[in-house]
Every structure is written in structure tokens, then in C-alpha cells.
């Protein structure tokens, strides 16, 4: 791209023509190479979001490649601007205008073509990186298209409410917990939903983010690859305590996970909590509670509403 600019500039008469285009190109190539090497070898291994899960690894790779492509572009613009600021400043006493260059079809076409190629390549790469790791940890809505293969998918439902996430495990009797615990090396399907306003489930080190909408089941997939702790934060403004709506989860060995899950299920069954919870469903509407006790119905309460809408409405959210 830069090389053709050397041909474009008309030489001032009587002056030995310095090949500005070549100089700029050389400086650019050196700087861009150094930058890309630094990015790939020094920065890539430490790039967020890390390597704790499959989606995190792929996102890290994706961001590294984007950075590899972005760095030469930015360095090219900065090198060029810097070069012009150094070489083509106004000298005192020189009140002439500059050369009347209105355009150059070749350069314009090259630029447009070049940027189009880079952009389309980025699109193809991004799509591949989205599909390959089963949706790259992003929420895919109720009908996910890119799912992990394999048959031992762990189902975890993430219920967002103002201002706490809770988690239900349908494969363990539908027991519910306030702390997310996952087994390592087993693909997880997160079913994210909300009971009131829009939240967003962001497990940072697992690189999963899915919005929690009321009445909607938003599915996201990942496979944790290392044991350890991770942070869960709400990343959609949901009211006053949005900033405090965070918690810590753990990835543990499969054996420890079975112990934990089964113990919790047992305790909740014993205490009657499992029976008190609604049957596991992909979405919940707390304004209509079929299990409502007779005493409450006698008092005129049929659900957990706020009585915003008049009572003559069929439900009272």
C-alpha cells in the first residue's frame, strides 16, 4: 500500500527526490514486526480472559489474532502521521501553498481494496472462532445453534434476580444453591433466565456471558479446563445493587463435585426445600404460582406480584 505512494508524489523540480513512500514503508515494516512479535510471544499467554475454560482459550486466541492484525494498521497510521509531522512542517518565510494533489485513483482503490480484504478476513475468522468452541461462551438464546458434542453435558440453570444469582442443577433433583460449583473437563450448558429485570451472567475466568431476560431461556456453553476459583459478576445494570451483584464460583474435580452435589441434594430434600421449590423449568413466572397454599389464596394472594397492574387483570406482575 505504502509503496505505491512513492510513485504518486510528483517530484519538485530541481530537487533530488527522496523516496518518502519507501522510507515510511521501511519504518512501518520494522515497527509492525516488532509489535507483532511482542504481542504473540509476550502478551498472548497473559491475555484476558485466560485459559481456564475452552471458551476462554478460544477467546484469548481470537483477541490475540485481532491484536496481531490491528497493531500493523495502527502503527502504519501513526508512522505516517509522525513522518509527516517531522518532514512536512511549515518553514518560516515560506508562504507558498503545497502541491495541488486532489486525489489518486490508484492509491484510493488500493486502500479501499486493502481495508475490505482485512475486514472480510476478520469477519470469516470471527465467525469460525464463534462456531468452533460451541458458541464461544456467548448466550445463544433459547434455540442454540452451536452446541458442544458429547453426551455428558452438565445442565446448570442460572437464575438472576434483584440482586443475587442462584443456580439450579436439574440433574440433581433440581436443587438450588447460591454458589456455583462445576466439575472440571465436563461441558456445561448454562440456562440463564431472570425473575424480574434484565441481568447478565458473566463468569469472567470461564469467559461466559449471557443476558438473563425474564421469561426467556438463554443458553451458553463452555467446558472448564482447570480447577480453581472464578468470579461471577452481573454485567447488565439491574438496579441499585447491580455493582454488588457478584459472587465467587469454583471448579473442582469430578469426584468432589459429585460429593458436593449429592450432599446438597440430600440436605435440601431432607429439609423439605426441594419440595418447596417449583418444578425445574426453563423459565419461571413468579406472578402465577400453582403451588400457592390455600391459606394464601383465601387471603387473595395467587402469586408474587407487585400489584402494579389492577387486580382485574389476569395476573398482577
Amino acid at each position: 500500500m505504502a509503496e505505491s505512494q512513492a510513485a504518486a508524489a510528483p517530484a519538485a523540480p530541481g530537487e533530488k527526490e527522496t523516496n518518502h513512500g519507501l522510507r515510511i514503508a521501511l519504518i512501518w515494516v520494522v515497527l509492525a514486526l516488532v509489535a507483532d512479535l511482542l504481542i504473540w510471544f509476550l502478551w498472548y499467554p497473559h491475555l484476558p480472559p485466560g485459559r481456564m475454560s475452552e471458551s476462554a482459550e478460544h477467546q484469548q486466541f481470537d483477541i490475540a489474532v485481532l491484536a496481531l492484525a490491528a497493531a500493523p494498521v495502527m502503527i502504519f497510521v501513526w508512522t505516517y502521521f509522525g513522518y509527516t509531522l517531522v518532514n512536512w512542517r511549515h518553514r518560516d518565510g515560506d508562504d507558498d501553498d503545497g502541491p495541488p494533489l486532489f486525489g489518486h485513483t490508484g492509491i484510493q482503490a488500493t486502500w479501499i481494496g486493502g481495508t475490505a480484504v482485512i475486514v472480510l478476513a476478520a469477519f470469516v475468522f470471527g465467525t469460525v472462532e464463534l462456531i468452533v468452541p460451541a458458541g464461544a461462551g456467548a448466550g445463544e438464546g433459547p434455540n442454540p445453534v452451536w452446541k458442544p458434542s458429547g453426551s455428558n453435558l452438565l445442565q446448570v440453570q442460572v437464575i438472576g434476580q434483584q440482586w443475587q444469582f442462584t443456580y439450579r442443577y436439574p440433574q440433581f433433583g433440581g436443587m438450588e444453591t447460591t454458589q456455583l460449583v462445576l466439575p472440571v473437563n465436563r461441558p456445561v450448558a448454562f440456562h440463564v433466565t431472570s425473575l424480574d429485570v434484565i441481568h447478565s451472567f458473566w463468569a469472567y475466568q470461564l469467559a461466559v456471558k449471557a443476558d438473563a431476560n425474564p421469561g426467556v431461556d438463554n443458553v451458553a456453553y463452555t467446558t472448564p479446563k482447570h480447577t480453581g476459583g472464578f468470579t461471577v459478576r452481573c454485567s447488565e445494570l439491574c438496579g441499585i445493587w447491580h455493582g454488588a451483584m457478584f459472587d465467587y464460583g469454583r471448579v473442582i474435580t469430578p469426584a468432589a463435585f459429585q460429593v458436593w452435589a449429592k450432599t446438597n441434594e440430600q440436605i435440601q430434600r431432607q429439609k423439605g426445600v426441594l419440595a418447596a421449590l417449583p418444578p425445574y423449568a426453563l423459565t419461571y413466572d413468579p406472578t402465577v404460582i400453582p403451588q400457592m397454599g390455600k391459606v394464601l389464596i383465601a387471603n387473595g394472594i395467587t402469586g408474587a406480584g407487585g400489584y402494579y397492574y389492577p387486580s382485574s387483570d389476569p395476573v398482577t406482575p
Binding site: L195, A276, L296, G305, G306
Partner: protein, 238 residues
């Protein structure tokens, strides 16, 4: 306009802008709620904290909003606030008087008592102050959906503490529930539980998980989202 006139106008305008900004900062950005200090009431590593939740409040322009009150440890008066301070690494014996009637939770998981010492609470019902109805009973689950039995919850999420607060006996509440806040008489429940405050200082938010903001969508607006009513801060001090 002459130069002196311009300078004077400029200074007046500047003063007005500064005054306006200071007014907004002082009146609207700060918190005007009182913080009830329990640190001096602690002794031997134990402190007793008393709260109550009422179906209305008399202390603001929103009288129909449900509200918590905190009892001042020295004067025993009820303060309309939800901010209190406790010492660190101390056992807090919390007593909450529940004057408000029942509402089902949006998530019935909050029926389970979690995070207290022994993972349970004791509940005793009262006809009015000083007149119990039945003995104090230990419970670890109080189902908000099957019975008219839970008014609000008290939860400190970062300590994983969640306690459903019992509502008064339904028949008694329907007959003469408290209508004048802060409630000093009328049917209520007394819920007691204990937990340890952490070893480090900090601010810990607490909230109710029962949607009792009547007249708001999903019941989670109004008092549920305003400090001084159904949510507050527990300050853990040195």
C-alpha cells in the same frame, strides 16, 4: 457593557453556578440516613442487634412504603434507618420483630435459612408486646408459598446469610395488625438468629428478597430499591 459591569456579571454568574453545584452535592448526593452504632454495645465478643419491619412508615413522604427500623442500643428508640455498625469478629445475636403480613417470595429458595450459626432460627409469635402466643420454636425452613407465614427476609449476600422473617399469626394480623409506625404494639413475630461478623472491616449490603414494593412492577421497586426502607448497609468496624 463596560468592563467593570462585565466582570461583575461574570462573578455573580460564577457564584450562582458554584452555589448550585454545592447545593446539589450536599442535598442529593450524600446520604442523610443515620447510622446506628452497635460497636459500643458489644461485650465479650457478642453484640445484640434489634430490628423490626413494619407494613408502613410514618417518617417520610411515602407512608405506604414497607420499612425496616433499627433500635438504638442505648435509648431503645426505633430509628428510621437501615444503616448500622457492628464490631468485627463478633457474634451478632440478631432479633427481628416482624409486624408485616405475608407475601410469597419470587424464588422460594429463600424459604431456607442459610448462613446462621446452626443454620436455623427461632420463631415466637406474639399477640402484642409482652404477650406471646405459644413457645419459641427452632426452624430451618419457613415456606413462603405453602402458608401465610413469611413477611420479609433479611439477607447479607456476601456473607451468604439468608433468613426468612416470619409474619404474625394471620388471623391476629387481619384483625388488628399494626397501623402506626414505628410499631410498638400489635401482633408480631420475633425471629432470633446469630452469625459471626468477618475478621476484616468493610461495608456489607443487606436486602430483603420478598417483593413487597406494592404498586411497582414485580414488587421490586420503591422501598426495595431505596436505602432506609427494605435494604441497607451493615458496616463492620474495628
Amino acid at each position: 457593557m463596560s468592563l467593570p459591569a462585565r466582570i461583575v456579571t461574570l462573578l455573580v454568574a460564577f457564584a450562582a453556578v458554584v452555589a448550585g453545584a454545592v447545593f446539589i452535592v450536599v442535598h442529593y448526593l450524600g446520604s442523610s440516613l443515620e447510622v446506628v452504632n452497635y460497636t459500643s454495645a458489644a461485650s465479650g465478643g457478642v453484640v445484640n442487634v434489634v430490628l423490626q419491619e413494619d407494613p408502613q412508615n410514618n417518617s417520610s413522604s411515602k407512608p405506604d412504603w414497607v420499612s425496616y427500623y433499627v433500635q438504638d442500643p442505648k435509648t431503645k428508640a426505633w430509628v428510621h434507618t437501615t444503616l448500622f455498625t457492628v464490631p468485627k469478629n463478633t457474634r451478632v445475636n440478631m432479633t427481628i420483630l416482624g409486624y408485616d403480613g405475608c407475601t410469597p417470595a419470587r424464588n422460594n429458595f429463600w424459604s431456607l435459612v442459610q448462613g446462621t450459626i446452626g443454620n436455623s432460627m427461632t420463631v415466637q409469635q406474639f399477640k402484642t408486646v409482652g404477650q406471646p402466643v405459644g413457645p419459641a420454636q427452632r426452624a430451618s425452613v419457613r415456606n413462603t408459598w405453602s402458608d401465610c407465614s413469611v413477611g420479609h427476609t433479611f439477607a447479607i449476600p456476601s456473607l451468604h446469610l439468608y433468613v426468612p422473617i416470619a409474619s404474625p399469626v394471620t388471623a391476629l394480623f387481619n384483625k388488628d395488625g399494626c397501623t402506626d409506625s414505628p410499631c410498638t404494639e400489635g401482633p408480631h413475630s420475633m425471629v432470633k438468629f446469630s452469625f459471626m461478623t468477618p475478621k476484616n472491616t468493610g461495608t456489607f449490603r443487606w436486602q430483603c428478597f420478598i417483593p413487597c414494593g406494592g404498586g411497582f412492577l414485580d414488587g421490586n421497586g420503591g422501598p426495595m430499591q431505596t436505602l432506609g426502607y427494605m435494604m441497607g448497609n451493615m458496616e463492620v468496624a474495628a
